[in-house]
């Protein structure tokens, strides 16, 4: 019982030093949490991807289109359930800095293939019925204060002109990891316009979304699709949605690795800080620990005192750090919303915070404990004056 009191009192005997140590741990935990959250936000698209979906694109590059006529052929391949298609529209809302992903999709099949985008029946019907209608994620609607019935104008980039849409539906994500910042509209609206203004670009799509019956069939189906179009004018490359998403992320793999590395380096630095603090305080208390030993307290109890103090300091910093991670991530996510549509702290990050803090607390106690136990009582007592 007193042991606990001693731990806490000892930990806070040197208020400034302990305060600074706790502050460093707090900052480290905060940095670690945010960095990890950024990384997971980066991979969020891939994480949220379904094993039931394949993505087919032009084998040469994503910027080359595929003919719309492929839909029927893909549909006939064994194991395929639904085929949808769409184009990256790349429209700009008022200003370039208002970035959000916008796609022209074949709505009926798209919504079927992406059940994680949850609609109310009424809004879904309204969206499907209106050729100029659009559907957006809840977060996106909130960001710009859009309401159902609003007219939204996007400035085309790859498809020139001003495009007017009427907001017909706002979807919610089924999971936390579902992207709620998409802007979807009717492929037909785009295609019909192209037929009039740029017939060469009509009846073409960038991507096919292919649903498969069972995830195990994905590889087989992908191979079958690509085989079907081998030696045709536009050869295809089909991969799982996850691989497709990771393909985008992979471009920045080096950066991610660097961030990951930094997040662990932060932990190592903090280990050094805590170990230093613990070594200093254990050295100052050599005499006191000698008294404990004199009174008959064994090595285990002395070790408990030092490790306990180390734990009190680290876990206090850890707790404060975790508490601050939430508002910090919320603020960060808000300002970075357009780059990271999904920005939330994964439970694993919190577990990792705790586990790493426990490890730091333990490691930091090793050297001071070993030193303290090594000192002979008589010598330890000599240090008191």
């Amino acid at each position: 019982m007193y042991i606990l009191k001693i731990l806490f009192k000892n930990a806070f005997r040197h208020k400034l030093r302990t305060g600074l140590t706790i502050l460093s741990i707090t900052i480290a935990i905060l940095a670690f949490g945010l960095l990890r959250t950024v990384i997971s936000a980066w991979y969020a698209g891939a994480q949220a991807s379904s094993a039931y979906r394949l993505v087919t694109r032009n084998a040469i590059s994503i910027i080359f289109p595929l003919p719309l006529s492929y839909k029927e052929k893909i549909q006939q391949i064994e194991g395929v359930t639904t085929v949808s298609y769409g184009n990256w529209f790349g429209g700009v809302y008022i200003d370039e800095k208002n970035f959000f992903p916008n796609f022209a999709v074949e709505p009926r099949s798209y919504l079927e293939i992406y059940p994680e985008n949850v609609f109310t029946t009424d809004e879904k019907t309204a969206f499907l019925r209106d050729r100029k209608g659009c559907a957006v994620g809840r977060k996106l609607a909130e960001r710009y204060g859009w309401k159902l019935g609003d007219t939204i104008v996007l400035k085309g980039t790859t498809f020139p002109g001003n495009w007017e849409f009427v907001l017909r539906a706002i979807y919610r994500g089924k999971e936390k990891s579902t992207d709620e910042t998409l802007f979807l509209f009717h492929f037909d609206y785009l295609n019909e316009t192209m037929k009039k203004t740029a017939p060469g670009r009509a009846d073409q799509t960038g991507i096919y979304f292919v649903g498969v019956k069972r995830p195990e069939m994905a590889a087989e189906v992908a191979a079958a699709i690509d085989k079907t179009f081998r030696n045709s004018l536009a050869e295809t490359l089909t991969e799982t949605e996850k691989a497709f998403q990771l393909g985008f992320v992979a471009m920045s793999d080096a950066i991610i690795t660097a961030i990951r590395l930094v997040s662990f380096v932060v932990i190592i630095i903090i280990l050094a800080v805590v170990a230093n603090t613990m070594t200093m305080s254990a050295r100052e208390r050599t005499g006191e620990y000698a008294i404990f030993k004199t009174l008959g307290f064994g090595g285990g109890r002395i070790a408990g005192l030092i490790f306990g103090e180390s734990m009190v300091i680290t876990m206090t910093g850890c707790a404060v750090g975790i508490l601050l991670t939430f508002p910090a991530a919320a603020a960060f996510g808000k300002s970075m919303g357009m780059f990271f549509p999904i920005f939330y702290i994964e439970p694993e990050t919190i577990y990792l915070d705790i586990v790493l803090s426990l490890i730091v607390g333990l490691l930091a106690g090793i050297v001071p404990t070993w030193r303290t136990l090594k000192i002979r009582i008589a010598d330890g007592l000599r240090m008191i004056e």
Partner: protein, 234 residues
């Protein structure tokens, strides 16, 4: 006093320290007994090895050779862990610099050695209050060492030393850091512990006034024990 048997027996005790490659002998062939209920004053010039001898008897240091029997136990044969347990039960310590734990109150400091005993919380409280009563500090039990005078701190230290009712009480210059008045208080207290409670006390001191209270005085010089007590068999 009839048939006083020795509570401490020391035979052919050698102790040296190593300073680099040099071996410095501190105690050379020390042999003597301490009777139960004895109040022994160890005197001698600085550096003569008094503290070293006291530490050996109290089991916080190990001799090079020789036998130290306290009660029925030859403590030189104990392992470090056994020695720690033995100390907790058999030895009460009083030091020159009080050596209280600054983050604990007087009460808690006195209770500290009892935490290693199987006593219940209530029993511990009883013992602590009794010990504090002996040193007349019941009214200061919630004070921290920093809030007590030197003499009071030393009394708390004495309470801590006697609270487990140990076999022997060892004191290394208990009055060395105190003014004359407080020193007298402490010596009176030690005297009472010896005469009234029959405690065996081994005390190192430079202070002749303090030594007066003791029954037996031994003089240590350059590691050799002089003034051997007449009762000692040789």
């Amino acid at each position: 006093m009839e048939n006083v048997r020795p509570i401490v027996e020391i035979k052919n005790l050698f102790k040296s320290y190593r300073r680099g490659s040099q071996v410095v002998p501190v105690l050379e062939d020390i042999t003597f007994d301490i009777a139960e209920g004895e109040f022994l004053a160890l005197m001698g010039p600085s550096g003569s090895g008094k503290s070293t001898l006291l530490n050996l008897i109290a089991g916080i240091d190990e001799p090079d050779s020789g036998i130290i029997t306290v009660g029925d136990v030859d403590i030189t044969t104990l392992t470090e862990t056994q020695l720690a347990q033995w100390r907790a039960i058999n030895v009460g310590f009083v030091f020159q610099f009080y050596n209280l734990i600054p983050v604990l109150t007087a009460f808690e400091n006195v209770e500290l050695p009892l935490l290693l005993s199987p006593l219940s919380r209530g029993e511990r409280k009883e013992h602590v209050e009794m010990a504090l009563q002996v040193v007349s500090l019941t009214d200061r039990m919630d004070h921290y060492p920093g809030q007590l005078s030197g003499g009071q701190q030393q009394r708390v230290a004495i309470a801590r030393a006697i609270v487990t009712d140990p076999t022997i009480l060892v004191a290394d210059e208990p009055t060395g850091d105190l003014d004359r008045h407080s020193a007298k208080e402490i010596m009176d207290l030690m005297d009472r512990l010896n005469t009234e409670s029959g405690k065996t006390i081994i005390m190192v001191t430079h202070d002749p006034r303090a030594a007066e209270k003791a029954h037996v005085m031994r003089h240590l010089d350059k590691g050799i024990l002089e003034n051997v007590h007449p009762q000692d068999p040789l």
